[in-house]
Symmetry: C2
Subunit: 384 residues, 2 copies
């Protein structure tokens, strides 16, 4: 019986833990108290304080980039990143149909239009080969810009998402980006700590946007960051996310329409403490993965979703891929009923009312995987 | 000598305090650490946790409204509030030229156009009489909507700002709003705790947006809220600020283009503790006001800026009004040099590059007051 086999595998992997077992809980075992209390004791909780700078420095180093700009959340990071690489109102942005809603919303917040592209089965991230073939057919370059022949709109950026922490094939995607003159900027909300060909995945492409929401591998309560090697983009990102105010001892002069997106110091303090534990969290994740891999080895009804060969994933959110496309909802019901909080992968973007008329390529693989992928409990504590 | 007189008055009011004296510091003397520690100990720091609900309940009660929806900051509160009352791309929004940049940016983030209106000398807030005369001339109603005859654009909302915490004359503005069929929604970022004709100022108009930035009378690190008596608007605000996700046990279905604007639980925890102290903060502010009033009594060079007769202000930020329009910058230099961190009022919106072509009425009073108003140190601690 399918359900029992899957239930047994999860139980074997996680051991005897109290239920319900959340999908992903944060973990605090470092200097969170100390740093947060210091903020309260000094009164530096908001935009004044040293933890924001410190967090940005440590984060940039960890991600192998020159600059990190912390913001209120991952959606804000994505929106600002897109605007900075030149996405304008009415442009199209190539992004996966298979992602969390934030990727599409960030595009919309730039008054741009999501253009949905297909994923690979192995990584669930954008399929570079299929994308290249598709652009060959539907796009043409004019005066250095890429245009959609069908809609007439400019195509302004390519945004892979590192789904569940597993890196997209950045070299393949960079090739497509180069061929068509597109900025490659990544939605790295889920992949902090992941390596692509031995280097932090955030060090690829022009910029990346990460998230520190409470369900991520590490958290600042709410938060995100833009990561880049470009000093120019970094300076612009800092300016734009802090109301575009010109430096002056007392005058309030703002030189463009900016955002109030800065991360408060108290959240950055938490981030500093969490970042110090990230390596431990990554090791814990590996132990969970080993346990799941063993437990699902030989299970016929589903496969445990693994990192691609070229990557060392943070395995932020574990997933199984059902072999039968018709069993997802009954499986979800049974697993949740048994006290394992499990979720399907996100509903595909082009199946949401507000995005159903957006341009898209053939999405058969995305549609198949939407019907087969289930996320299973992944909290760091299970690997400690 | 002007400078010396002003310096003496500030020194007399504040007493012997270490310099530099900040313009406005937050104050933490309540349960901040207890509540924040509870978040860290339970792991409820982000979107899961009970402090968000508790904070919203306490805040609504304090502001005399049925509903409060907490968000990441005051700008986000303003943007969502404008969208909810029907502001659409291309609309004009009536707002003061004399305000912080966030008011205009929130309008821009709705893809709408700020339309700058004149202030009263007494409150520095919108002058209802002048606005009414102006609309009489430049606007006309067609099919129930108000249009700017000069630009052809719809005028979609009226947004007073309670400058430095002093309530705008809401009855007068409501009359104008009613006459022209405009929703009246307030930028109450600065006025938490202020009363208009004996009731919380946030209970007037259709909704208000407040801020809990670190420089406000109370803080959540970064944060804001939408306040309203309308259950319909409140439900829509909560939906829109939490990615417009439909409630479901596991499905990710979002039914419109939403925002990731929710306030993290750890920031709401701080907010609960700060809100418990708000009455003490308000009393402290009154003591500072009494001291400044006495100290500036008889000073010929400047007047201390006082609340209007109809209001009981929170006196968030104290201000003096110079009698000579040419002495502002030299006065600012001298006060800052002496260790009192002082600021001019914000540069007028229509003098910023990105807003200089926006529609506006005669702004002579705003321009005069821009040249005369200086904010002086106002931290709660000076009144304790």
């Amino acid at each position: 019986m399918t359900m029992q086999t899957l239930l047994d595998a999860i139980t074997t992997a996680l051991g005897d833990v109290p239920r319900p077992v959340p999908l992903h809980e944060p973990y605090f075992a470092g200097q969170e108290w100390t740093y947060v209390k210091e903020c309260l004791d000094t009164g530096w909780v908001s935009s004044v304080g040293s933890y924001v700078d410190l967090f940005e420095q440590k984060l940039a180093k960890k991600c192998g980039v020159k600059h990190a700009i912390s913001v209120v959340n991952g959606t804000a990071a994505l929106q600002v990143m897109l605007r900075l690489v030149g996405v304008r109102a009415g442009d199209e942005v190539l992004m996966p149909a298979l992602t969390f809603i934030a990727t599409a919303n960030a595009v919309s917040h730039c008054n741009a239009i999501p253009h949905f592209v297909e994923c690979e089965k192995s990584t669930l991230a954008i399929d570079g080969k299929k994308l290249s073939d598709y652009l060959e057919k539907i796009a043409h370059i004019k005066d250095g810009d890429l245009y959609n022949k069908e809609t007439g709109c400019r195509i302004a950026a390519l945004v892979p998402v590192h789904i569940f922490g597993h890196p997209a094939d950045m070299d393949a995607l960079q090739q497509v980006a180069d061929q068509y003159g597109l900025p490659l900027v990544a939605d790295a909300a889920e992949s902090l700590g992941s390596l692509y060909k031995g280097k932090p995945v955030e060090s690829y492409g022009l910029c990346s946007a990460v998230s520190f929401n409470g369900n991520k591998i590490m958290t600042t309560g709410g938060g995100g960051a833009i990561l880049t090697n470009s000093s120019d983009l970094a300076a612009k990102a800092k300016h734009l996310t802090t109301t575009a105010k010109q430096p002056h001892k007392w005058e309030f002069v703002h030189d463009e329409i900016g955002y109030n997106y800065r991360m408060p110091n108290i959240n950055a303090a938490m981030g500093c403490a969490q970042l110090e534990q990230l390596d431990d969290f990554l090791l814990a994740k590996r132990k969970i993965v080993d346990a799941y891999s063993r437990a699902f080895d030989g299970v016929n009804e589903a496969s445990f979703h693994k990192e691609p060969d070229y990557a060392h994933s943070n395995y932020w959110l574990n997933a199984i891929v059902l072999h039968d496309v018709n069993e997802r909802d009954s499986t979800l019901a049974a697993l949740n009923q048994a006290g394992y909080i499990c979720r399907p992968i996100w509903r595909l973007m082009h199946r949401m009312a507000m995005y159903e008329t957006c341009p898209r390529m053939d999405l058969s693989i995305s549609e198949e995987m939407e019907a087969r992928v289930i996320n299973i409990p992944s909290s760091v504590k299970h690997g400690l």
